[in-house]
Symmetry: C2
């Protein structure tokens, strides 16, 4: 048993000054990095308790269950913590196959090519059809 196993798992997390930690969602199976968002203590606790990704929305200053509007929930398969305790990796099943609010499979759809950000991933569903 390692040292971290002896203490409450939420206490092991190195929250930043705002009480947040970056959280990365990776799709089980494909391995695609879907998105990066933020969690506070309540969000991480809720994620584990519910088995679905819950983030903290910095713009709305509230918990944000991913997919609460779109239906594109993220079912949690694994929760990982990094060596410095300051980043979370979620392995998830992406319901609907769409993680991005733009209707793309994931949020990292722009690639740097010769000094320009170029969109390289297709829109799978129009946002107007996702958020009626």
């Amino acid at each position: 048993m390692n040292d971290l196993a002896k203490v409450d798992w939420l206490e092991s997390v190195a929250w930043n000054k705002a009480g947040l930690i970056p959280a990365i969602a990776q799709e089980a199976g494909s391995g695609a990095v879907l998105m990066q968002a933020w969690m506070n203590r309540e969000a991480l606790k809720a994620t584990v308790a519910e088995g679905f990704a819950v983030y903290y929305s910095r713009s709305r200053s509230r918990l944000w269950k991913k997919g609460e509007s779109s239906g594109h929930l993220q079912k949690v398969v694994e929760v990982r913590l990094d060596c410095d305790n300051d980043a979370i990796l979620l392995i998830v099943e992406q319901i609907g196959g769409i993680a991005c609010h733009t209707g793309r499979a994931h949020c990292f759809y722009r690639k740097l090519e010769q000094g320009s950000w170029v969109e390289v991933e297709p829109v799978l569903k129009a946002p107007s059809d996702i958020y009626p």
Copy 2:
């Protein structure tokens, strides 16, 4: 051509108040999420110019070329930006197959299991052999 392509690519990035952006490194081929670190403008510029990952060390307040001590450089294959312009994804070739300073393949080696963080990835090389 999208809107972002028309302006300087570094200007498109939504740096936080400290002038930083979270950067995720993912291994080409395996798809493993290796680590999450931070970049400032100079770090991202250097990453693209050199073709190897350069981060900004918040603890040392300076640019940090990944692998500068260990030799475990990260050769950049792709640079991606997310939908909100506030997260970077690097697709890299991990030189030496070790991204973590603990000697593991990647930094997310602890998994939450029944309320404890459990180490689930082997140490491939002792840190004392990496940093003599």
